[in-house]
Every structure is written in structure tokens, then in C-alpha cells.
């Protein structure tokens, strides 16, 4: 607002100054925004992870300090909780990603993520997209991330450790008859893991067999009758939330009582396990497989 004593000339001069200052600020701001890949002072790597399992891979490769952005669902290892958040897997926030001035953004091969990486590529930011939907792809993904961040050796060590753990399980179950496993991801409506999932792979890796046959859906909703038809020996339910495991275990008894003729329920072999562990294809694959193997082994 103009002062009464002020002349128009003064006001004009002041406006010019304000404009000049604003443009300089804007210019600097833009420089920062349009060159997000410009190395920071020490030239260190700055990596943003767009998915919880990618975060786990990065930490497993020893990149604790290089990770500068993770999703809101990245809760393992615990250090990941302290990193800046860039939104969620499904709704990444491009501004939050850029604010981390990343030298590399690692994303999964999903439409929402690809949209973001294309945007980042246009701005000159390096990205790496990996597809991790099977165990083999997990190994490939770890390797290509290792290559991209210059940690090939660590990546190879990690892969051979996971493969060795898988082999040990494989030989230990060689002579057991396969148990039928129903993997329930949701109760209302009843939805299970189908045969085209990595969960199916994990079940088979520990000597089980998916109780549900091939379906059109990847995670098919099924009717109660299909639970009877599947006739599972074991029912496994990953907990939806890190803190909901106990509550889910408690309500499982009541919920599955309707299926009391099914062997899994009759023999009290319904297990609620850590969802964050088993629902991610991560470097903790050995732990996931061990956890599932435990469910199948208990008699």
C-alpha cells in the first residue's frame, strides 16, 4: 500500500526492486528445480526409493546414508522410518521426490510409478525401473540395483545367501507330502492369493501347494463353497497392519468357525503371520520362507 507522502516515482522504483529481487529468487529456485540431478557438494549418491521392498534392498546393500527418500509405508529396516517421505507407492509426490535432490530414483514397474519416472526423466533425473513380481525377478532386481549404485559384489553376496537359504528349505522338505495352503488376503469378501502370484511361488518353495486352482483374477474373490472345495490343510492370513496381528488372530477363530469341516480349521491350523514380511518380495525372502515353512511344519 502506498504512503500518503510517497510520490509515484518512489513507488515505481520500489516495484522495480521488488520485481528484481523476486526474479532472482525465482531464477535460483528454478535452477534448483530443473537440475535435480546436479551433484551436491560432496558428490555423494542420493537415492529415492518408491516402494517398501526397494527400500529394503537398498538398506541390505548397505546404502543407509545414500537413501534420501522413501514411501510412507517403508517401515523396514527401522532406520527407514527416519528418512524423508515422498508419498505412497500408489500416490507418489513428485515435488517431495525433487526436494530430496536425488541422483537416482528407483521405482517399480507399475503405471503410477512409470508416470512419475517419465516426468523425472524429462527433468533430467536418472531413474531405474525394476519389475519384481516373482522370486527370479527379485534376484534380477537386486542385481540391477546393485549395478546402478555400484554395489555389485554386495548384491551378488545377498543373492547367493537367499538362494542358499531357499535350497536348504527345498532339501528339508523333499520327502514330505505337499500340504494344501489357502492364503487369505482379505475376509470381506473372501479373497485369496491365486496361482499367478509370488505367494504361490513361496508356498511351493516350502513344499506346499496352493489350495485354489488357476483363476482369471490374480487375487480372486472366492465363495465359501470354494473354501470347502479347496479343502485346505493350512490357512495362512498375513496381518493387514503391523499392529493388527493379535486382533486378527483373535477374530480368526470366530470367522473360520463357519468352515469347521475343513481340515485346516478342524486341526486348528489357521495362522495369522506378519504381513509386512511375507507380502513383500524383499531381501528378507529367507525369513518369509522360514515363517511360511513354520506354518506348514507345525503339527
Amino acid at each position: 500500500m502506498l504512503n500518503v507522502g510517497e510520490t509515484t516515482g518512489d513507488a515505481f522504483k520500489r516495484s522495480v526492486w521488488v520485481l528484481a529481487v523476486m526474479s532472482i529468487v525465482l531464477l535460483f529456485g528454478c535452477r534448483e528445480q530443473t537440475n535435480p540431478t546436479e551433484p551436491v557438494a560432496d558428490g555423494a549418491m542420493r537415492i529415492v526409493s518408491m516402494a517398501p521392498n526397494l527400500t529394503e534392498i537398498l538398506f541390505a546393500l548397505g546404502l543407509d546414508d545414500e537413501v534420501v527418500g522413501v514411501t510412507r509405508h517403508c517401515n523396514y529396516p527401522p532406520q527407514a522410518l527416519t528418512k524423508p517421505k515422498i508419498g505412497t507407492f500408489w500416490q507418489p509426490d513428485v515435488e517431495a521426490v525433487l526436494a530430496g535432490r536425488p541422483t537416482l530414483v528407483i521405482a517399480e514397474d507399475f503405471a503410477q510409478q512409470r508416470q512419475l519416472t517419465e516426468q523425472l526423466e524429462r527433468l533430467g533425473c536418472a531413474t531405474l525401473t525394476v519389475k519384481i513380481e516373482t522370486i527370479a525377478q527379485l534376484y534380477d532386481g537386486i542385481l540391477s540395483i546393485g549395478q546402478a549404485v555400484g554395489r555389485i559384489e554386495q548384491a551378488q553376496t545377498l543373492i547367493s545367501r537367499l538362494k542358499a537359504a531357499q535350497d536348504v528349505l527345498q532339501t528339508s522338505i523333499a520327502d514330505q507330502p505337499p500340504l494344501k495352503v489357502l492364503w487369505v488376503i482379505q475376509r470381506q469378501p473372501l479373497r485369496v492369493a491365486g496361482t499367478k502370484t509370488f505367494i504361490n511361488e513361496m508356498i511351493e518353495a516350502v513344499g506346499g501347494v496352493n489350495a485354489i486352482g488357476p483363476t482369471v483374477n490374480v487375487y480372486p474373490p472366492i465363495s465359501a463353497e470354494d473354501v470347502i472345495a479347496a479343502w485346505p490343510d493350512v490357512i495362512i492370513e498375513p496381518a493387514n497392519m503391523p499392529n493388527s496381528r493379535e486382533a486378527q488372530t483373535r477374530s480368526a477363530g470366530e470367522f473360520y468357525a463357519a468352515f469347521r469341516s475343513v481340515p485346516a480349521v478342524r486341526n486348528k491350523r489357521v495362522y495369522v503371520i506378519d504381513g509386512d514380511l511375507v507380502s513383500r518380495l524383499s531381501p528378507r525372502l529367507d525369513q518369509s520362507l522360514a515363517e511360511i515353512a513354520r506354518c506348514l511344519r507345525q503339527d
Binding site: 473372501l190 465363495s223 463353497e225 472345495a229
Partner: protein, 343 residues
């Protein structure tokens, strides 16, 4: 087209026979091949539980009865909404019940409520509460707009529907993926087997009572089909008839929505189909629609169970996909019967 008591009874009996035939056939269809002969051996066989018996009696039959109740409630209330709103596009969801119930369900899912009361889940009860609350709101606003003012009521319904839908969209956009899945499946209509026998019996009785009351209102609804002024001139208390029919139909719709989510299309096409084939007299339209609607949802639900087995489809998808073309065929075949008023 005169409706004699004989004709009425013959048609009701035919529709009843159709319903029971549909249930009998659908009982034997499922993802598991089950022989009736095995099932008839009773609950236990050779000291073990008899699985065919269990599948038919504990899973398929309750689910089918539930499907029939939902179909009957939606089709009968669809007739009534079309009559009191004097609008051929009216269906039981037109006045916002669907979005109110949807919001109730979504709230239960987002709050993580997993308690049950008499075998009814939190989702079902909040859906019922949401449907009733929306009905009251729309009725209140509609009445404020003017007595027996149908346009006011319709507009209030449309606007409340649009508003609540946007709230649903907002909540969906911030919900977790698994919560969205649960809600979406419900919004597409899904009938589950997990029902207490008491709940099914109570719902069945309520629906039967509702159809009974609507049937009593049949002659008044017939008069109403000439228009509100003409009906008033014939000595009908238009606003009282509308209020009573509206309350009963809304209650029945809320019940159906609570039991099976938003099963679409039944409340719209079944009354029209019956009207095309058998004529517009409400004394006949209401009971025959209820029976045909029941059979229709029973068949649609069976298709939903088996067509992609062992997975299943939401029943609402099937009612729309099967019902749409079927209705078009009827429309072409019986076009000359297309009239509203009772001659």
C-alpha cells in the same frame, strides 16, 4: 387387459413356480460338483460329516434364500418408486439410498470396525444406518420443497446422491488399497454365505410383510398412476399414500442393501419387464415383480458363483450384464404393451 382374480392368482402361482424352479436348479449348480443323492444322506455319512449335504444346506441354500430376499425387496420397491415418482427411470436407489449406504460401509471399513451383532457385520449395519439416514434427509428436504411435490423430492435425491458420492470418492482416494477393494466389491453388489439363520429368517419376514403392505396400497398406486390431481379428485389422500409407500419401499431397499450391497438393475428392469409382459396393474405388478426379482437374483448369483470359478464375480455385474440385453429383447417384443395407466 382386465385383471380378474383368477388371472391374478394364476400369474402369482406361475411366478412362484418359476422362483422355486430357479432355486431347485441353482442349488445343484456350483463350483463343486455335488450330487443330490449324496446330499440326501443327511448331515453325517459313515461317521464323517457329509460334505455334499453341508455345501447344499449350509452354503448354497442360505445364500440363495438371501439372494431371493434381496431380489424381491428391490423389485417390489422399484415398482413403488416408479409409481410414486411417476418416472420410468426411477429405481430403488434413485433417492440417494445407494450413496448413503455406500458411505456407511466405507466408514465402517475405514474405521476398521470388524465387530458383528447377531452375525451382521459392522459394514452391513452402517450401510443400513446410512441408507435410512439418507432416506430421511431426502424426504425431509423434499417435503420442505412442497407437499406432494415430486420434482422437489427427485431433485433432493439427485443432489444428495451426488454430494454423498463425492464424499465417497474423497474417502476412496485417501484409503488403503485393501480397504478400497473391500468397498468396491460391496458397491458392485456381493452376496455372502456368512449369515445367521435368524438374520435370514428375520429379513425374509420383513420383506414379506413389506410386500404385503405395498400390496394393500396397490389400488391407491393404481389411482396415482393417472397423476396426483386426478388421484386426489378420485378421493385419494395422495400425500399419505406417497408417504406410506415411500417409507415401506425405502425400508425394504435399505434391508436389501444391508444384506447384499448395491445389486443394481433389478429394481429398474424387473418391474418394467413384468409391466411389459403382464400389464401395469399394481395389485399384480408388486407381487409378481417381487417373485420374478427374487428368481432373477437367484439365477444371477449362481452365474456369478460359477462363471469364473473358483473365483466369483460381484452379483451386480451379472444382473446388469444379463438383465440389460434380456430387457431390450422384452422391450422390442412387447413394445405395444408399453403404457402406465390401468385401463
Amino acid at each position: 387387459m382386465d385383471l380378474t382374480p383368477n388371472k391374478l392368482w394364476i400369474r402369482i402361482l406361475a411366478a412362484t413356480a418359476f422362483l422355486f424352479a430357479a432355486i431347485a436348479v441353482c442349488l445343484l449348480i456350483g463350483s463343486v460338483p455335488v450330487s443330490l443323492f449324496d446330499a440326501l444322506r443327511g448331515p453325517t455319512h459313515d461317521g464323517q460329516s457329509n460334505i455334499p449335504y453341508e455345501i447344499i444346506v449350509h452354503y448354497r441354500l442360505p445364500r440363495m434364500v438371501l439372494a431371493a430376499i434381496i431380489g424381491a425387496a428391490l423389485a417390489a420397491s422399484g415398482c413403488v418408486f416408479q409409481a410414486i415418482l411417476r418416472n420410468p427411470l426411477a429405481d430403488p436407489y434413485i433417492l440417494g439410498i445407494s450413496s448413503g449406504a455406500g458411505l456407511g460401509t466405507l466408514a465402517a471399513v475405514l474405521l476398521g470396525w470388524s465387530w458383528t451383532v447377531f452375525g451382521m457385520s459392522a459394514m452391513m449395519l452402517t450401510a443400513f444406518a446410512g441408507a435410512l439416514a439418507t432416506t430421511w434427509l431426502v424426504w425431509g428436504v423434499g417435503r420442505a420443497a412442497g407437499r406432494a411435490n415430486i420434482t422437489g423430492l427427485l431433485l433432493a435425491g439427485v443432489v444428495v446422491n451426488a454430494f454423498l458420492s463425492s464424499v465417497i470418492m474423497f474417502l476412496t482416494s485417501i484409503a488403503r488399497a485393501d480397504q478400497v477393494q473391500t468397498t468396491m466389491f460391496w458397491l458392485m453388489g456381493s452376496i455372502s454365505e456368512m449369515q445367521q439363520v435368524e438374520v435370514i429368517a428375520a429379513s425374509g419376514l420383513l420383506t414379506a410383510a413389506g410386500v404385503g403392505v405395498l400390496l394393500r396400497l396397490g389400488p391407491s398406486l393404481n389411482m396415482l398412476s393417472f397423476g396426483a390431481d386426478e388421484a386426489a379428485a378420485l378421493g385419494l389422500s395422495v400425500s399419505r399414500t406417497c408417504a406410506a409407500a415411500f417409507a415401506v419401499a425405502a425400508l425394504m431397499t435399505s434391508l436389501a442393501v444391508c444384506l447384499g450391497g448395491l445389486v443394481g438393475f433389478v429394481g429398474l428392469i424387473v418391474p418394467h419387464a413384468v409391466r411389459l409382459v403382464a400389464g401395469p396393474d399394481h395389485r399384480q405388478l408388486i407381487p409378481v415383480s417381487a417373485l420374478v426379482g427374487a428368481a432373477f437374483v437367484v439365477i444371477a448369483d449362481t452365474v456369478a458363483r460359477v462363471v469364473v470359478a473358483p473365483a466369483m464375480l460381484p452379483v451386480g455385474v451379472v444382473t446388469a450384464m444379463v438383465g440389460g440385453p434380456f430387457f431390450l429383447i422384452l422391450l422390442v417384443r412387447y413394445m405395444r404393451n408399453l403404457h402406465w395407466q390401468v385401463k
